[in-house]
């Protein structure tokens, strides 16, 4: 569960989203590093991993939980 203190919204996170947010909580992180973190925690499908990460980041961004930035 995640409570967004800025928006007041509550989110029920998937395990994958939780790993990504934990990674991003420390510092801005590249998509490649996030994919590596997911690979470390889950049995990922390499063929779709890149698209899956992009979809997940898009969803989290649409909920105002993350935003894109330059590293």
């Amino acid at each position: 569960m995640l409570f967004n203190e800025v928006s007041g919204a509550t989110h029920l996170l998937s395990p994958e989203a939780l790993v990504v947010l934990q990674q991003l909580g420390a510092t801005p992180t590249s998509v490649l590093t996030l994919a590596a973190a997911l690979r470390e925690h889950f049995d990922v499908d390499e063929a779709t991993l890149s698209d899956d990460v992009a979809d997940l980041l898009e969803q989290l961004s649409s909920l105002d939980l993350i935003e894109p930035c330059h590293l």
Partner: protein
């Protein structure tokens, strides 16, 4: 501390029609003023075991439920609710004054008592184990709640589960159980000795009758309980009695959806609900037989075989 029953009918009517009856229900005191006989009758018959404070004392809520004036005094008379000089509800036909009183009492708590997380649901307790029953209308929640309290469970509330924010304990608010339509005869058949108020037909919820809260539940208004289970009941004619686990994440979201003030409380509500969900197992519960349902609840509370 005197009880409503100690006042006698004349003094009850005098206070209601004058300075107000300071009625204690759970942690709250309401100053009730009313010139409607149905309200006095309802309080006299269903609230006899409740403590009353001395006139002039402090009240959390100011409740005035009075007859309409002007032409409406004679032509289709109405009951009007006044809260601190405002009228948050549209008037209702005078014949519905009693259910309106109960709705008003619920409204005061659900709109004002934000020192609690308030979940729309019944809560009952046995053997130190409180079980919360959040559910939408029509799920059979009140019928199940009424059956449980008629079989020895303590009523903490039929409608408003009050979770204390500092320690997560559920605070009792035992008031009459609202039964609707077919449930009235179901409980009459299930517990012939149960005391029900006079049925009121034609409300927006159909026919309503209130089951008197057990005196022991009322007397123990100062004893909070720890919730151990959150059960989402669903009555289904002919269905087998089944209990299905609800994962914690879904449990959190479903209870939040049923909370009156989760969004009002912000992060404090999140923390309080997280603690409640940590303390409890969640279940979907389908039933058609009240005796089987009670036996299952007894097992959840560690009572019986």
């Amino acid at each position: 501390m005197s009880l409503v029953a100690d006042l006698g009918r004349a003094e009850l009517a005098r206070r209601l029609g004058g300075p107000g009856l300071l009625l204690r229900t759970g942690p709250f005191v309401s100053r009730v003023q009313s010139n409607i006989a149905l309200v006095a009758d309802g309080i006299g018959s269903l609230y006899g075991d409740y403590p009353v404070e001395e006139p002039g004392g402090f009240a959390d809520f100011q409740v005035r439920l009075v007859r309409s004036t002007g032409l409406r005094r004679w032509w289709h008379p109405q009951a009007c609710f006044d809260y601190d000089g405002r009228e948050p509800f549209a008037p209702l036909p005078l014949a519905q004054a009693w259910p309106m009183f109960e709705w008003v009492m619920n409204w005061c708590v659900s709109n004002r008592a934000h020192r609690y997380l308030i979940v729309h649901g019944a809560v009952v307790e046995r053997n130190g184990c409180a079980i919360v029953l959040p559910a939408p209308p029509g799920s059979g929640k009140s019928t199940l709640c009424a059956a449980l309290v008629c079989r020895g469970w303590r009523l903490l509330s039929d409608e408003l589960t009050l979770v204390r924010r500092d320690d997560g304990m559920v605070v009792p608010l035992a008031r009459p159980v609202s039964l609707k339509n077919a449930s009235i005869d179901v409980i009459r058949g299930f517990a012939p000795d149960a005391l029900l108020g006079k049925p009121v037909p034609g409300t927006t919820k159909g026919t309503i009758a209130h089951l008197k809260a057990p005196p022991d539940s009322v007397a123990r208004f100062g004893e909070p309980a720890r919730a151990r289970h959150i059960v989402f009941p669903r009555y289904q004619a002919g269905a087998a009695t089944t209990l299905t686990p609800v994962p914690k994440g879904q449990l959190f979201m479903r209870v939040a959806e049923n909370a009156f003030n989760y969004f009002v409380l912000g992060p404090a509500g999140f923390d309080c609900l997280a603690d409640l969900v940590d303390d409890c197992d969640g279940h979907e519960f389908c039933y058609s037989q009240l005796d089987e349902a009670i036996a299952l609840f007894d097992r959840l509370a560690g009572v019986g075989p």
